[in-house]
Point group: C2
Chain length 139, copies 2
Amino acid sequence: MTGCKKAIEQNEIPVCAIVVDENNSIVSKAINRTKMDVLGHAEIRAIKKAAKKLKSRYLYNCKIYVNLEPCIMCAFACVLSRISEIVYVLRDQKFGGVYSLYQIPIDIRLNHRIIVRKASYFEEEFKELLRKFFKNSNL
Amino acid sequence: MTGCKKAIEQNEIPVCAIVVDENNSIVSKAINRTKMDVLGHAEIRAIKKAAKKLKSRYLYNCKIYVNLEPCIMCAFACVLSRISEIVYVLRDQKFGGVYSLYQIPIDIRLNHRIIVRKASYFEEEFKELLRKFFKNSNL
């Protein structure tokens, strides 16, 4: 929630991702930064930070929490990073790559599969933040 | 070709991407850098460099040339960046996101479509470079 509010203060889409390790300790957090870089999604940024912090190419046994369903790019970034679980709150009918448009993390043709879970933490609050943001922006 | 050889010298997978503008002038070039960062694909790096150079979030009317079919992540990165055309040489049965596993750039549910073209420039040479690289690596 705090991350999303921080994103809004910076006029960024209120999306925030958190990577946690197998003990549920936070490894990294990142907000969306797409104002200048359309590829600066929160998940990609959190994954890169986590890999750097853990000094590891792969994030085995790590989970990623995000308030909006990862897009197709981020869904495959999670596969490439060997993340073990994705937990998201709101579905994304426009770009969703883990449920809405594609189900990339469970594609048996790929060399890594990810557990995907839809959660409902702060669901109404996140919905409202996104609704307000897009109402006030021209994105 | 030069980019791919440079990648090999640095013990990186020989993949090289080039973004050109509507006049076919080179805007950016990038090689794969996945040794330390599994998300450091050539296409993503070339797109980010091009956007920075053109001081634009979007790469309308730009084409991307790459010797290996873009993966799922890179295919959607091209959609997000509004690239107009993807030209690739070798198919990627393992991760290919523009033909082999998914056809993301032509998905009519998305808000941008991309022309995808398979070319055959240096096809045998690229195949040989990749074959040799994977024979000598443990990736």
